[in-house]
Symmetry: C3
Subunit: 340 residues, 3 copies
């Protein structure tokens, strides 16, 4: 889709400096701008590129003043970054488009209901007694088990598996290959060394505005619900075990694992490859650095934890800086021992 | 499905205290019990809830004696936890139900055989020359490659991929998105810095009663077989590389990775996010703590290993407790140096 | 497929010692050789097995001289390992076979083009405006989004998801369940503690000869491209975040995660469970040991890094060996303090 710079300026409530009839059809990075593209300049570090870019236009903030000649057209707005983001959203919305309809072959059990404005791709599968809201997009190879409930404006990307009895709120987005509601890992040891599966009869609940990354897994509860509260954002390849509860607006980066029955507070930031053992409580507003292992509950909200066994981050870094030269420390002890 | 408390008591060989005609249709946690639900009390910590629960009935052990009033009905059995587990199994069995039949469209090459009482969901795929046992449940979007053999009572959940030549024993359960028999990661370095794939012509064998978690991956052997022995339980997002052998009844938690050709003993417990390098032997009955790295074989059976580079767990924790205050230790050395 | 030993010798340009009319149909390990199989002996450690193996034939190097009797036939070649590899490749080629054609039901939007000699399995999905080269094999449950481009001789294994706008070069192999082009994990914090998704409008480019392992995930760029250069080999369950660039012929083992916008050099070797934070530059020819965390860029090419926070590997191992006995070190300090 093509827009004139005049049209773009009007969307952004900005002003064109240059030829407002030129057209753009693509968003480019300023350092990679090519004719037909529009870029933005919001970080001083990138200012030199404005004098070189081949992009047709660059969005700049009102206070930008050039120190050299440049070839591109400008669109001046109050805040260049916000302006660009607004444009990005409009563009993304058009790209995701509002696909509606049914591709065949697809499968839906007649006992299931689905709202208006839905998209069901070829090879999508919807089991029995499901209740699915409006404007839901179900892409190819999605499996939706029996008795699943989906809110409005949910997007389930290709190949995601939503197991039986899962409940998903409005505006959730499940990325490709994610598995929601698989059996929890619960086995009872038997006298002879073997294990017997403990039936996992609970479910998973995702409240509104939750995002789950590609190939992540969220197990159902043994009983009751594994609960992911409003606004939680989960990256790729994350593991959430049975009966975990995650508080509102907590963010979890890639390859982190949270063991069974742990309760995470709200507004936490958990970096990548973190491991948290089971049955812990983690306070609100906790930050956990990448690769940290958490083996004890965290009671005080608002702290940053880090380390192989997580501790106060500054403390860990101090100790680690000495660890790096433990040999030197040992030498000093030897020296002292000699001099006695 | 609804049962009267009298019926439940008769299944559990217990005795109702209260109204044996009341009905339950759901299993609840005692602290979340609602009318129509049945709970259990097996852990003293939860005793206070019996006086508050709204569950219709609670299963208790014979030795329970109330110290306050309560509203719920009791079912007394010898052991409340075992009783509840029995009920749970009966319930899970009914829920998984005994789906049988074929949903369309599904795909099976005419050269493949499948036993009685099978379920094949819509969009399930079975390649050439497969031999599939009785009462096998193959859910939607399952891929079964050529020459695969499945025993009796195998469940392959939605979207799992069973690659060519894999052999799976009786009563195995493969959870959604798991990949069994993908190519091992073997590349021969060439003179010019590039790599050439080494053909991976072996397969994967899962013996009886093996469980593989959601989105886990088990690679086929370069030659011969990657072998997962009887009763092994594997959690979600676990990686098992080519030519690994895992002994009977070993349990492996989420996000653990085991590198090529390593042989793990039987009855081991391997926690989450563990990494074990290739070509090692790990003794029977070994326990490995979460996030541990194992870079040397383990010869003595029955020990617990832990740490960034795994060692005796007590030793690691002692050293780590000193590590936490290395700064203090350095201060003591400085003090000694001053006083010389 | 069966070959006489005479035929095998002629493929390998070697010489049969024994009965050249005997037939083999299988490749066996020498220690597990059975009649009908052919093995090789390239490592002295395995020499004892040649006197015991039941394999019909063993490939040996010209300089092999037996010290005992044996039952098997020999095929002498210049280099036994190379000879066997040659055979392995021929065998693998036959097994993967050159499947061609379309199984039904499959889905391809009429606006998409696909070259000759293609295979499209049942339940494979190809969206709009795709350009797909020659001899491409698309297995069951593969999703190919809109505007995807695939080069020649690409293999997409069962259940892999190639999201919209991805570009894949010649001879790439994408293993089962891998996800290429999922949305990057980018969210803008809002004033009220919630997050808003930042549209991810870039794509992923895989150059020629790239391999991506089972259930690995590669996110699309926020803008521009996540770029995996020629010859890169990626193992299972690896996470590559948005806007990452990986240099030619770099190898990445299982469960490693690379955060957003990091640039990895060429010819690097990155072991399993490594984590690299975002916005770093890693020099060419860098080796990173298993489980290492990288939190700073690496400027000097050709070094080996290791440790919870990566450092020079020898340094880490020295410090760790002292860490193991920190208690002993503390005792020495106590001793010194007493004697003052």
């Amino acid at each position: 889709m093509e827009f004139t710079l005049g049209q773009v300026a009007s969307i952004l409530e900005g002003k064109v400096e240059g030829d407002e009839n030129q057209k753009v059809s693509r968003l480019d990075k300023i350092q990679e701008g090519k004719p037909g593209g529009i870029s933005f300049l919001a970080n001083e570090k990138y200012t030199p590129f404005i004098y070189e870019t081949e992009a047709t236009a660059v969005i700049v903030s009102n206070d930008f003043s050039a120190t050299k000649e440049f070839k591109t057209n400008l669109i001046r707005v109050e805040d260049a970054y916000n302006g660009f983001t607004k444009l990005l959203e409009a563009y993304a919305m058009m790209m995701k488009s509002s696909i509606v309809g049914v591709e065949e072959p697809s499968f839906i059990d007649p006992s299931s209901q689905i709202g208006d404005q839905a998209f069901r791709a070829a090879f999508s599968y919807i089991g029995k007694n499901c209740k699915i809201g409006e404007s839901v997009k179900i892409h190819s190879h999605v499996h939706i088990g029996d008795r699943v409930q989906l809110g409005d404006h949910v997007i389930i990307h290709a190949g995601a598996k939503i197991c039986a009895d899962t409940i998903i709120g409005d505006n959730c987005e499940i990325h490709p290959g994610a598995v929601i509601g698989s059996d929890g890992f619960g086995f009872a040891p038997q006298g002879d060394g073997t294990y017997k599966a403990i039936p996992q009869i609970g479910n998973v609940i995702l409240e509104d505005n939750v995002s789950v990354g590609a190939n992540s897994t969220i197990d159902c509860a043994t009983m009751g619900s594994t609960l992911i509260k409003k606004g939680v954002k989960i990256d790729n390849l994350v593991q959430i075990a049975h009966n975990v509860i995650i508080g509102e607006n907590t963010v979890i980066a890639s390859q982190t694992g949270i063991s069974g029955s742990t309760v995470i507070g709200k507004n936490c930031i958990i970096a990548g490859q973190v491991g948290i053992i089971g049955h812990l409580n983690i306070a609100d507003n906790t930050t956990i650095g990448a690769k940290t292992g958490i083996i004890k509950g965290i009671k005080k909200p608002g702290f940053t934890h880090f380390g192989y066994i997580g501790m106060d981050m500054k403390n860990f870094l101090k100790s680690y800086s000495i660890f790096k030269n433990l040999e030197g420390m040992e030498d000093r002890i030897k020296e002292l021992e000699k001099k006695q």
